[in-house]
């Protein structure tokens, strides 16, 4: 059979961000793929060495357009460790609240993208409508829907009052109903299952070999979550389940993500209940003592890791960011072999690509 090269990207309706997969296909069967990144490479790691510690908070907020808050959280907690700062408990709680709201936002967005890629516009519309509720909550809290600028070194910038907390609670309750509906749809809708079950199947072994983290790893039964394994922010004071599935196909990752959304909602409620009054920030110095730090956090897509080295000046000497999308892309190379062309969008959605994250 003749081989055709089908380009997916850098511009393609399937991708919301630029990245290029050159698929080699025989008829409807994909044989091989070649990946090319770098279309949204902004040189953030190098740029960070030119900016002061404080400016970097705002720079790093822009690594990703979906999980912007987790990047500043990881960075700030790293710098705070170097400064040996004690962050007030209320600030930790608010940080965690934003993290969880962001996870809800990211997972709902993902479900919409998956639905759209399998041609199920209705679910796409519904889950993005529900996502608006989280965005509204975040806007109410911080003034920003996507870039919240909540974190500062030493704490957070916002201090919600009782009235705000009440309105958040109401919003969360409404959202809980919607998420329950969506879970029901993902579990039972037949045409969605036909398209996602047994598609993009991975194994524990494969996931381990490619160092994949987050929901994709949890969908093959790898019970790992930085929030529980190495609690940061306020996670040691909260209780939650780490959701795992065993299927390893795209449907399993969908289940993991929707259930995690539910779990995040419960976490938000816990945080709102435990939010004690107090300071939201401590003062931080302009210079950071020399030293190195490795900071990890659980982004919606899995483990984010920052390596920060200070030479004792007002700028970092090296800042390294690894986002969970990069190993997922490595796994994709394996997944995009010997599958049907029509399954490519499903497999691509399954790993939840954030290309701006991967490029930096």
């Amino acid at each position: 059979m003749t081989r055709v090269t089908i380009p997916i990207g850098p511009q393609h309706p399937l991708l919301k961000e630029p990245l290029s997969f050159m698929l080699t296909a025989e008829g409807e069967r994909v044989v091989d793929s070649v990946l090319r990144l770098g279309y949204v490479h902004r040189g953030i790691e190098r740029l960070a060495e030119e900016r002061s510690w404080v400016q970097n908070v705002h720079l790093l907020e822009r690594v990703c357009g979906i999980c912007s808050h987790i990047h500043t959280t990881t960075y700030c907690q790293g710098v705070e460790a170097l400064l040996e700062l004690e962050v007030p408990p209320r600030a930790q709680m608010i940080r965690t609240l934003m993290c969880e709201l962001e996870r809800i936002h990211s997972h709902l967005l993902w479900l919409g993208v998956l639905a759209e890629n399998v041609g199920f516009t209705t679910i796409f519309m519904y889950s993005w409508r529900d996502r608006e509720m989280v965005l509204d909550i975040m806007e109410d809290l911080s003034g920003g829907r996507i870039a919240h600028a909540v974190n500062i070194i030493g704490g957070v910038r916002i201090d919600p009052d009782a009235e705000q907390l009440d309105s958040i609670r109401r919003g969360l309750d409404k959202l809980q109903q919607q998420v329950d509906t969506l879970l029901d749809v993902v579990q039972h809708e037949r045409s969605l299952r036909v398209r996602t079950q047994h598609v993009g199947r991975t194994t524990k072994e494969l996931v381990r070999r490619h160092c994949v983290v987050g929901p994709v790893a949890r969908a093959v039964g790898i019970d790992e979550d930085i929030r529980r394994d190495a609690p940061y922010a306020a996670y040691d004071r909260l209780s939650f389940k780490v959701i795992t599935e065993s299927g390893g196909d795209v449907w399993a990752t969908a289940l993991v993500r929707v259930r995690e959304t539910s779990e995040s909602l419960s976490l938000c409620h816990q945080i709102l209940d435990q939010l004690d009054p107090g300071d939201v920030a401590t003062r931080a110095g302009r210079r950071v003592p020399a030293g190195e730090v490795v900071s990890r956090a659980e982004a919606p897509r899995g483990e984010v890791i920052y390596y920060i080295r200070s030479a004792g000046t007002d700028k970092p000497a090296r800042l390294k960011i690894r986002t969970p999308t990069l190993p997922a892309l490595s796994l994709l190379g394996e997944q995009l072999r010997d599958i049907k062309l029509a399954d490519v969008p499903v497999v691509l959605s399954g790993v939840d690509l954030c290309i701006a994250c991967a490029d930096r």
Partner: protein, 157 residues
């Protein structure tokens, strides 16, 4: 994670070097590893200890030498520090043991100009040792952007 057990095992695996652990925030154990031992150390970690994944490889230019940090995760952070000479930066690729190291290593090669020996895609183009992955196609060879000392700019004609 039992640091002492890891150190003992590593000392057994590479008897010609004494390993030492250092702790850095936040709860990260750092072990310095000589270049020649890296593959053996990783193999030893992979077999004896439940290393979950390689989080990433940080490459940095300290001004006098290149430093590679292999960040692993196994219910706790473990980082291997490998120091490379500035002029002859070459290291064994880990892709045979950990296929997921592929992209991290390609980033190292492009950004810091580290030569990776035994990498499956190494040598596809002569200039950088790799086809372009993150950098633009017309990036001039021999100028890894994260190196502090850049060759003097030629006159562009």
């Amino acid at each position: 994670m039992d640091t002492q057990a890891i150190l003992d095992a590593l000392n057994d695996a590479c008897p010609d070097h004494t390993f030492d652990a250092q702790a850095i925030p936040i709860d990260e154990t750092v072990i310095e590893v000589p270049v020649i031992c890296l593959k053996r150390v990783v193999a030893c970690l992979g077999s004896g200890f439940s290393i979950s994944h390689l989080s990433t490889i940080t490459g940095q230019d300290t001004g006098t030498e290149l430093e590679l940090l292999y960040h692993f995760w196994s219910k706790g952070g473990l980082t291997l520090r490998v120091v490379l000479p500035y002029d002859d930066a070459r290291i064994d690729s880990l892709t045979a043991v950990i296929p997921g190291a592929d992209f991290y290593e390609r980033e190292l090669a492009e950004m810091l100009g580290v030569r990776l020996e035994g990498h499956p895609r190494s040598g596809l183009t002569e200039a950088e040792g790799f086809e372009h992955f993150l950098l633009p196609e017309d990036w001039r060879p021999g100028r890894p952007p994260l190196r502090k000392k850049q060759p003097p700019k030629e006159n562009e004609s």
